[in-house]
Every structure is written in structure tokens, then in C-alpha cells.
Symmetry: C3
Subunit: 273 residues, 3 copies
């Protein structure tokens, strides 16, 4: 899809030129890696979770990331306050439901956040995302943990329509859709699952792309996924072991440009039947 290649290149250039401020309320494990990933891409990360300052910080930002790993109860109130401010000032909200479905605290936190503010993009792996759906969606999603089946894509698109947000699922082939159009991304490497915070970092990069998207959040999210996976494809050529792979991956996030995108981006789009 040639059009996505030039779009992704244009968006990347825009991030590097504007350095949008990305406000992250994220988990303790990945704060450092998410900040480094955003800096490498060209965005300006800020991490702030204190109820007393989150609204002020969000008001200055180009996008907001909410990530529920290592959750504490008082952080949920901060996430909701930030999310409502993001809605008020009209910036996109990316929600990463880390561990949703694993414990009641996390599933309930997602319900509260999505009940209190409008989420633009819900990004996670299949088990996290489908745990948030209705009974029917959960069933369809169950078999999809190893890459989405067509039934899994259908379930994801139904969820997008139910939740009124973009659903973006990482997997062997990524699936991003708003319930009407669906993008599938063939970039990415299995080794990404052997480095902590790579998924959370993708949510942050989606935020950076959405921050400069002028409202076209679906294409921006697909472009973010493609670019991110492409950087992994190039990094794996330098190292197939997790320590040096992550170093090479950060280097690629910083250095990849239109030429590599032109050669390597693998995104296709289709309409939902």
C-alpha cells in the first residue's frame, strides 16, 4: 500500500519537527523505556501521575497515554482526571490495558476509565483486549492469542463499534480498526516479547503519531504500528538477542526515515464486511 508509506514518512517527519509533548501516566516498569522510546522517535515525553498536577500537564500535551500496569488505586483517579482534561482540550487518549483480565483491580480500572472519559485508541494484546468485551467477544477472542483469526478480527471490530474507539491489537500480525476499516501490519518480530516495555512503548508511539494526526487517528495508529515494527525488523538484522536487540531498536527508532519506510513497511487496509 504505497499511500501508507508516504503517509507514515510524512507523520514521522512531523513528529521530529514538532516534538509533541506526550503526557504518560504509566507503569513503574516501563517509565524509563517509554521515555527513551518517545525521545528516540522525536517526541517530548513527560511522566506525571500526581492528582494535583495531571490536569495541568495534560492541558499542555499533544496526547495522553494511560497505562494500568503496576496499578495503585489512587492512580486511577489521576488517570480519569487527566482523561477528562484530554477530552476537554480535544487531544487523543491512548489506553493500554496491561494485565486486564488477569485481576479484578485491572479489569475494573479499565471499566472506570472508559466509563468516565472517551478513549481514542485502546491498544494491547489479544487477551487483554478481548477480556474487556462482551461474552461473545471473549469467546471469539479466546483462540486468537497466537495471531488473530478472521473471527478474532471480527470480534475486535465489533468491540471497536461497541466501545466507540479504535481497537489496536498487537500480535504476529497486528490488527488496527475502528469497526469499519481495518489495517493489518506485517512488520514486527517475536523477540519484541522478550523485552519488557516494548508493547507499552508502542502505545506511547501511537500517542506521538496521534498527536500530529489532525484527527485522522486510525491511519496514524496504523502508521505508528508499521513504523515501530519496521524498526524491529531492522534491529533484528543487527542482533537476535534481547539486550543488544533493544539497543539496536532504540537506534532505529531514531534513525529510520523515508527510505527504509519505502522499502520495508507492510500495511494493508480493508473494509469490514
Amino acid at each position: 500500500m504505497e499511500e501508507m508509506k508516504s503517509y507514515a514518512s510524512m507523520m514521522l517527519a512531523r513528529i521530529r519537527q514538532k516534538a509533541p509533548l506526550i503526557h504518560n501516566i504509566t507503569n513503574l516498569v516501563v517509565m524509563n523505556s517509554s521515555a527513551n522510546i518517545l525521545l528516540a522517535v522525536g517526541a517530548s515525553p513527560v511522566m506525571a501521575h500526581c492528582r494535583a498536577e495531571v490536569a495541568e500537564m495534560t492541558a499542555m500535551a499533544g496526547a495522553l497515554v494511560l497505562n494500568i500496569g503496576t496499578l495503585q488505586e489512587d492512580w486511577v483517579a489521576s488517570m480519569i482526571a487527566a482523561g477528562q482534561k484530554a477530552n476537554a482540550v480535544g487531544i487523543p487518549v491512548i489506553l493500554d490495558p496491561v494485565g486486564a483480565g488477569a485481576t479484578a483491580l485491572r479489569s475494573e480500572a479499565v471499566r472506570q476509565i472508559m466509563g468516565a472519559c472517551a478513549v481514542t485508541v485502546l491498544r494491547g494484546n489479544a487477551s487483554e483486549i478481548f477480556s474487556l468485551g462482551s461474552a461473545d467477544i471473549k469467546t471469539k477472542g479466546v483462540d486468537s492469542s497466537m495471531g488473530l483469526t478472521e473471527a478474532g478480527v471480527d470480534a475486535a471490530m465489533r468491540m471497536a463499534r461497541e466501545k466507540h474507539c479504535i481497537v489496536a491489537i498487537s500480535g504476529e500480525e497486528d490488527c488496527i480498526g475502528d469497526g469499519r476499516s481495518v489495517y493489518r501490519v506485517g512488520n514486527g518480530q517475536p523477540l519484541m516479547t522478550k523485552v519488557t516495555g516494548i508493547g507499552c512503548g508502542l502505545s506511547a508511539v501511537v500517542a506521538a503519531f496521534c498527536a500530529v494526526a489532525d484527527g485522522d487517528f486510525l491511519r496514524a495508529t496504523a502508521a505508528a504500528f508499521g513504523f515501530y515494527g519496521l524498526c524491529a525488523d531492522l534491529a533484528i538484522a543487527e542482533s537476535d538477542k534481547p539486550g543488544s536487540f533493544f539497543v539496536a531498536f532504540l537506534d532505529r527508532l531514531y534513525s529510520v526515515g523515508p527510505e527504509e519506510i519505502q522499502k520495508g513497511l507492510k500495511i494493508r487496509c480493508s473494509e469490514v464486511a
Copy 2:
């Protein structure tokens, strides 16, 4: 000790096949590195410290790590709740008493945790471990900060008997014992002390080995120490400087297999007189 070589290889294969879930309630400095270390070895880390979800998380795990660095009072309650759940479901508990002896808060936290739940392995450096012992043990331990003397090993074994747990002390030569048998590990590098979180990461790797040990926690802990030190021995051949050493170390945790273990593992076992 040929038998330990094949045992360590077998355990490592089992971790990589089963990917046991390791629940970590650990300090803010090392959350990222412990997660990456566990992923590299082949385990599945989860970090969760909120009182509202720790028991639920522990119930799904194969082992529990409690680490008291960057302690806050409310985390101790979470650690105890998780520890008691671990005891109830019969999974091993690894306690890393970071900074015990340095402040009253930390020493008291260890006392509370060990009073409220059964600890399987107590892993730390000599000064941390001996600070938890009786007056006699403290005295014997004082001189042992630079590698354990025979009196230091005796003190460690007495502590193991007193506390009814495996005592595992990192040092120039590591010492792991249950009060009756003692393993000494000759693998490892001084440069490990120049990278933060390497000790805490070892506690996490001990948890991964214990999670697949079928109850033989003493041998599993010794095997974890030997494997971990061996990865450092191989990494130092790539770099003797801390930044690139840690990258190489993560790579080794991921790639070392039976062949390297056969060549390089240095563990010997003896009975306590």
C-alpha cells in the same frame, strides 16, 4: 560436579519450555531490569504491588519474589498478603532483604515478613543476611564481607537452621545452603556489582528456577546461581565495562545452553559438619 551441570541444563530447558509466571513485589530501581532478566531467561514476569490484587496475582504464579528496596510502609502489607497466599497455594517465596541492617525500617520489614509467612530462599549479600541473625551470627559475619570465610559459611548455615529457610549469599564465592548441605559457586564477576539490579535480578532468577523445581529448592537455587554467574563470565569476555557488559549479560541469559553450562559451570557441594 558433573551432576549439577546436567541438572542446571535440564532446569533451564524447563523454564524456557514452561515460561513460569514470576510475581515480583520489588523495588522501583530494578523493576525494569528484573523484568528483562526474567524474560531473557525464559520466564514470564509480572510486577504488581497493590494490596487489592497481590493475592490474586500470586495465586496464578509459579513463584513469588519479595524485595524490600525503596520500601514504603504500605508495600510491607502487600508483601505479607502475597507471601501468605504463596504459602497457601504452595509456591516458593524468595526474599531479597535489600539494605537490611542499614535502616530500622528495612530490618523491621524483614522481621515482619518472616514472622508472617514462610520464606523459601533468603538471598542477599553477606552484610544484609548477617544483619538479620542473632548476635553471634552477626559477629561471625562481620569479617566476611569480602567473600565468606569458613566461619562465615558456618554462620550462614546456622542462620538457615534458625530461620528454616535456604540462605543464599552472593559474594566472590557464592554460598547456598539449608543448614545441612552447602553449595559453593565459583562463577560470577566483580563487575556485576557495578550494575544496579544484578543482585535483585539473581533473586528473580532463583524464583524462576524454584518455580520448576518440584520441591528441590536447594539444588534449584544453586543451579540458578551457577547459571547466572556463568552468563556473567561469558559476558565479561565481550566487555569489561558496565554499560556494554549488562547488554552482553542479558544476551547470554537468553542464549546460554547445555554446551556452555557443561564447559563453564563451577558448583561444588559439601555436607555441613
Copy 3:
């Protein structure tokens, strides 16, 4: 300035020999990187923020770092308690006002901390530092975000006299002064701004130099800046991309010695008119 070269070499040797304990109450993003940076330089980092132990920890330390990133209200009380203990036992206090000026919470936290305890060195970038000054200083500082103008240096020195502390501003050319003498450091690389925690790590390294300075904190701070920037100058020769640059930077912090300092340190000193 030959004299600064031998001074910096001497201070570095002293850190590596004495391994001073540096107590950090710092933000969640950089705890890991600050610890690794301090270890690489040769110091002994400890991170502890709980009100119940901070005074005890500070009393054992050679210097205290207070850093207000990812602030929570209860951490301010811990910072003040630690700062007052540092004043009482006579060790230097380095304050890093991350994000001061961005939100009321952070600006107010700096005011509270500086009102309650004596700060030895205030280190940040120009916008953070000048946000803390009087109206006149703010105006003068506004234009200085891209390297300090002479008016910016004047404003910084006025602030040093007003606040009775050393003001140390990172930028294209760093500026460190006590209001009477000013040091300018030409070492350092723009890529440092593309890795999170490099600025916060500098505050920690300033603490390590001050811990062995026998009261000559101005020269020690200037030496720390020069050494730190020099390590970046040498690392950039190995890689101009952020992932591998940071690895090389940590390696340099560990390995740079008198020879490299003699060749590459760029510090000049002048008196304030």
C-alpha cells in the same frame, strides 16, 4: 585551564577510591539510570524515599540528591526531612528542579524545599532554573533556552546570590557559578537530550564530586560537569544514535581517566563583574 584538569582527575580518583554513598530521592523514570551512572563513576548509590527511613539514610551518606520529577505530595515531606538532616550533618544537597515552572505542584515543591533547608547546588536546564527566579530574572532567562547569552549568565549569577547556592545550568555551554565566579563548560553533546535521565544523572554525579570536595563545592560541580560532558564527547565517537550512545556513555563514565581528561576537558573560569 590546566589547573581544572588535574583537579578533575584528582576528584575522580578520590570518588573511585572512597566510593561515597549518595542518597537519592529521585523520580521514578531515572532511578535505574541514576544508580547505574553513579556506580559507573565509582560512587555507591542508594535510593530511599520513605519518610520513616530517609533521615537515617542521609546520615550515612556523603551527599544528598533531591529530584522532583514524577512528584507526589508525600515525597516532598521526605525530601525536606532528608534535606534538614543533610544540613545538620553537614553534607551537600543537590536539588534538581525537574519540570519547575511547568506545573504549580513542582514550582511550589521547590519553594518549600528551598525554604526549609539549605541547598548547595541547584542544577537544571535554563527554563527550569529561571522559572524559580524573580520577575527580572525570568525575563532575562527567557531568551536563553538555546545556550545562555551573557544576560542569561548574569541572571543565573544574580539568582545564585539571591538563593545563596551554586546555580548550575546545563545547555550548549554549561554555566556553573556561585554569583562571584562562573565556570563555563564546553564539553557535552546535543544527543544527551535524546536519552532520558542524562540530566538527572548529572545531578547525581555532581553529588558524587561534592561528596569528596572538602567544601570546595563550586570547583567540584564544575569538574563534574566537565567530566560528564567529556564522557559524552568520547561516547559520541562510538555511536551517534541514542540506544548505543547511552551504553557507550556508561562505559566511558567507568573508564575515563586522567589521560582523557588532560586531552579533552574544556572548562574556563571567570569572575563576575
